[in-house]
Amino acid sequence: MIALDEATVDGLATNSDAAKNGKALIAKKKFTKLHVSDDGDLLFGECQGSGKDPYKCSVDYARADQPTFRCSCPSRQFPCKHNLGLMYAYAQKKPFTKAAVPADLQEKREKLSAKKEKQAVAAAAPPKPKQVNVAALAKKVKAQLDGMDVLEKLVHDAVRLGVGNMTAKLAKQMEEQAKKLGDAYLPGARMALNGYTQLFADEGGKFTNKKPSAAQTERTNTEALDQLARLHAVIKQGRAYLKKRLDDPNLEVPTDTAIAAWLGHAWQLAELKARGLTEPDAELVQLAFNSHDDPARQELVDTGIWMTLGSGKIRVTQTLRPYKALKFIKAEDSVYGVVHVKELCVYPGSVNPRVRWDASTTRPLELEDLKKVRSHGRADFAAAVKDVKNVLKAPLADRTPILALNYKTLGKVGGEYVIEDAAGNRLVLTDVGMSEEPPSLGMLPLLPRAVFANQMMIARFRHDLDSRQLRVKPLSLVTEREVIRLTL
């Protein structure tokens, strides 16, 4: 029996338009047949499209954590609107009649299950030692080292020229030259450089001649210098790593530093699994979510902030949706249930490493889960701050780590919002410098009184180099009864 509600189907849709179109098919009564297989695992039907013959669509729950969508329509969206419509119809309890599975569909089902079995057998077998093509690798690493020289030249030129003398025009030229880094197998380094040049672009990522305000220029200068220092670290650490790699072709991508990712190494799930970077049977609760536009990378970034119920570690999921492929990559949505993952893959990283999984099931969030979440909060702010500072001092660290903090009081000191722990340690709240999420402080006075004492805050830390203050932005509050999201 398939358990489906409209919210779950909403979550499966690639974007809100797809969901809307799927629902519209039911409203327009386009489904001429709605069937469910005898075993109850397969929904199939026919939906009238613009052509003469209806589309044959099906949703196969043979693997409950990973449904298979099939449709005879030419859409490149998965699931397509017909699949979504079929699921909405089921969720809306439209009459589905039991019917025998058509032969062609049954054949496909069997093929898939055979393929999966084969994969399972292959996965269970001991991995074959990886053959390294030494000559090809040496060629690639040399190209990368040459790329590092290019990067170094660009960075040093920028420093010699002076951040203050950088103009939008020059930044644009620099971005053009940085394209070479992509050809040198260093896409990550190119992104890091764009992170610098984009400081001189407008909000939409365009280089214009509009003169920024004096205050804006000051902020840009500080950010720019920090970014240059990071690039300096990328060059130093990257070059050392690449040289080692050149000497030892069998050297594995290191998991204790994120340098490989900085250069542009894209970890694959299989690779993470092979390196043992997995956790079995993890249960995750999403505590916050954001979706922001990154013009430097020419993509939208959907970030989920999750706590693992067992360990209380806060990890992030990231879905990168390049502008060019927006229609085909599913936009992530906020998740309100508890996600159970058989095998959670964890990327190398420090405080909030990225996580990924390929199959999951969701169950409703219960009060007991919230109790567990709250038990993982840091009640000693001094110790938490110490840990954060230790993270921040590494040149390639995540500059805005996230922690769960259990506060005794949320109040105000001289117009500033403050949280205080039992020992009287205080942290000042701010929205400044963390624009990925919508501002959240404005919502605090509208919250019920009960949230101002003895609750948990999911907080993003940021050290402001100009004021030299370490402050936090509240993303969510976790009470005994609910997660109050303050951003998305």
Binding site: S16, P95, V159, G162, G164, K389, G411, P445
Partner: protein, 627 residues
């Protein structure tokens, strides 16, 4: 102390990075910091390292300046990152919470994100999603309060008005402080909305702001402030004073506020306005107020003006007065008032006299026309009077009398009264020249035709474009209830058939009427015989369907089969409108017909046809019965 030095080093490094590392060599200010760093280095090795890096910057070769400066910056900032200040001194005060109370909700990011973009954006296409969110109650999500507050200044007035009227009031006093903080009495656009909203949420607390706005506000804010007046006796005098303002918008706002007051002084001001150049504003104020007492004013004004109209000899003046009277009659408030009835009946009684008055542009006849229009839609007394006078009415007025009769006469009485106008001409054609009998017959037929909407009958479900939240939902005054018309006497259809009047037969059709069935068949047969293309029999097919002729579906396909040598898509297009009324048995034939269309037709009609066929299938599908 050492950290202070380090901060200075960072500041100098930053300065050099901004200026360009080429000027770093020998930098005097950085150089000065090296000795204290070295000194501190004796205790903490990290300072020694920083001292070394600083030395490399000021003394190293210019070619390595960039690298040296970056090294220094990285070192200094790494230490500073561990020194961020966190605390804050002072007394911890509680947060003044203005909790919303009631139920709140958290909508998924997938719905939140586009809504935030719509609220903050500038382009078109934003109103619909915001309106949809209002309908779904999504604004109970706390995260939308700030964006909604900001949207009160939206450049697109519809969005800003929707937010001010439907969204922000929901938050009640929780948004008052924010509204007050942003409010600027010299402002325009969002600021008048803010003032009105604050007044709506807390009339007493906003009193002072309203007074200030009246005194010193911008024109727009002042107009908004006037609309907030009326609660206090002192307001009246002020409003009366403002009704004489030189600014038109201010006067209009004053009239509207005065129309809401039930006071003789306010009424006097409005009465005066009705006589002068502010007629339009006063009318609008009275119409919106829906106050029956003010309708009396209009009745008096109409009566005096009509007297003047009958007396004047000047054509220009007559035209002006007639224009004013029709303006007033056309904007009567939707209320029941005996005085209004009386004046309508009085003018109606004097219609012959009025009709004689000729003006340059408008004349007495225009006044009579407006009077008849108002009576046809008016009280039972007015309708009865109109019907009673049917024999004396002009042909053009007879339709109104017929429509009035549909409500106030029984089915039989309506037939007995008005059917003779049809039967009188049943056996003859229209006479050449003037033929008032014929005109009267046409007037009645128009009346019959006017309450049958063919498209709505063909496809009653086809209302997808209509939104639930219509603009009319935003008006919330009392509306006069109108009685429903009585059903038609069955004899009407006999007459329509005898007249061979297709439109009337369509409008009056009932099933199993032998005459109507035969008429529809004969009409179709004749048309089909002559037809060269499908479009020429479509009207006859509709008649067959209306009278529920068993051969209607066959006729549909026979019509389609009239294919000319060079078919045009518009000859087929209309047929798709008929599909919803076809029986289930027609489905296979419809599909066959669609498949057999030539290419140039298919590309124009296929989608529409397919959609309607699918809908027809769904309508006749077995499961549709239990929905």
């Amino acid at each position: 102390m050492s950290i202070a030095v380090l901060s200075q080093v960072y500041a100098e490094a930053r300065r050099l990075a901004v200026a360009g590392s080429v000027v770093a060599k020998g930098d005097f200010r950085l150089k000065k910091l090296i000795p204290p760093l070295q000194q501190a280095g004796a205790q903490a090795p990290v300072f020694a390292k920083v001292a070394e890096a600083a030395t490399a910057v000021v003394e190293g070769p210019e070619t390595g300046s960039a690298e040296a400066l970056l090294e220094l910056t990285a070192l200094a900032s790494a230490v500073l990152y561990t020194q961020g200040e966190t605390g804050i001194d002072g007394k911890l005060e509680p947060v003044e919470s203005s909790s919303l109370g009631g139920s709140t909700l958290q909508i998924p990011a997938r719905e939140m994100k586009p809504l935030l973009e719509a609220l903050k954006g500038k382009g078109g296409g934003r109103f619909a999603p915001i309106k949809e969110a209002v309908e779904k109650g999504h604004f109970r999500d706390l995260r939308l309060i700030r964006p909604a507050l900001a949207a009160i200044d939206d450049g697109y007035a519809d969005v800003a008005d929707l937010i001010a009227d439907k969204v922000l009031p929901m938050y009640g006093s929780a948004v008052l402080d924010e509204l007050k903080a942003k409010y600027d009495l010299k402002g325009t656009k969002g600021h008048p909305r803010r003032l009105k909203l604050m007044h709506r949420l807390d009339a007493a607390g906003t009193r002072e702001l309203v007074k200030d706005a009246l005194d010193k506000g911008s024109k727009e804010v002042k107009v908004a402030a006037i609309s907030c007046l009326g609660a206090e006796p002192e307001d009246r005098d002020y409003l009366i004073e403002q009704a004489a303002s030189k600014t038109q918008d201010v006067r209009a706002a004053a009239y509207e506020a005065l129309a809401k007051l039930d006071h003789p002084d306010a009424v006097a001001v409005l009465a005066k306005a009705l006589q002068g150049k502010d007629l339009f504003f006063a009318l609008r104020a009275i119409e919106e107020s829906k106050n029956p007492k003010l309708a009396v004013l209009l009745a008096t004004e109409v009566r005096t003006s009509a007297d003047a109209l009958l007396k004047t000899k000047d054509k220009k003046k007559a035209s002006d007065i007639a224009d004013r009277i029709t303006d007033i009659l056309n904007s009567l408030p939707d209320v029941t008032a005996p005085e209004l009835d009386a004046v309508l009946l009085d003018l109606f009684a004097r219609r012959a006299e009025l009709a004689k008055v000729k003006g340059t542009t408008f004349s007495g006849n225009d006044v009579v026309e407006s009077v008849v229009m108002q009576m046809a839609d008016g009280s039972m007394a007015a309708r009865n009077a109109l019907v009673a006078a049917h024999a004396e009415l002009e042909p053009s007025q007879l339709q109104q009398a017929f429509e009035a009769g549909r409500v106030c006469l029984s089915s039989e009485k309506l037939y007995d009264t008005f059917a003779p106008y049809l039967t009188a001409t049943a056996d003859r054609k229209r006479k050449k020249g003037k033929d008032p009998e014929w005109d009267k017959r046409e007037s009645i037929l128009d009346g019959i035709d006017s309450d049958f909407y063919l498209y709505q009958w063909l496809d009653p479900d086809d209302d997808e474009d209509d939104s639930d939240l219509d603009d009319s939902d935003l008006d919330d005054g009392p509306v006069r209830e109108r009685p429903k018309p009585n059903p038609y006497d069955p004899r009407w259809l006999d007459v329509a058939v005898a007249l061979k009047h297709t439109d009337a037969v369509q409008a009056l059709a009932v099933p199993d009427h032998a005459g109507a069935l035969a008429f529809a068949q004969a009409e179709f047969d004749a048309a089909l015989k002559k037809a060269k293309q499908p479009g020429e029999v479509q009207d006859q097919i509709v008649t067959l369907l209306r009278v529920e002729h068993p051969g209607a579906a066959d006729a549909f396909f026979a019509g389609l089969a009239k294919r000319p040598k060079k078919p045009q898509y518009y000859q087929y297009y209309w047929y798709s409108n008929i599909i919803p009324r076809l029986p289930a048995s027609a489905i296979p034939r419809l599909e066959e017909a669609l498949a057999g269309f030539p290419k140039e037709i298919v590309e124009h009609v296929a989608e529409e046809w397919q959609e309607r066929i699918t809908k027809l299938k769904a309508k006749h599908a077995p499961e549709s019965s239990d929905k």
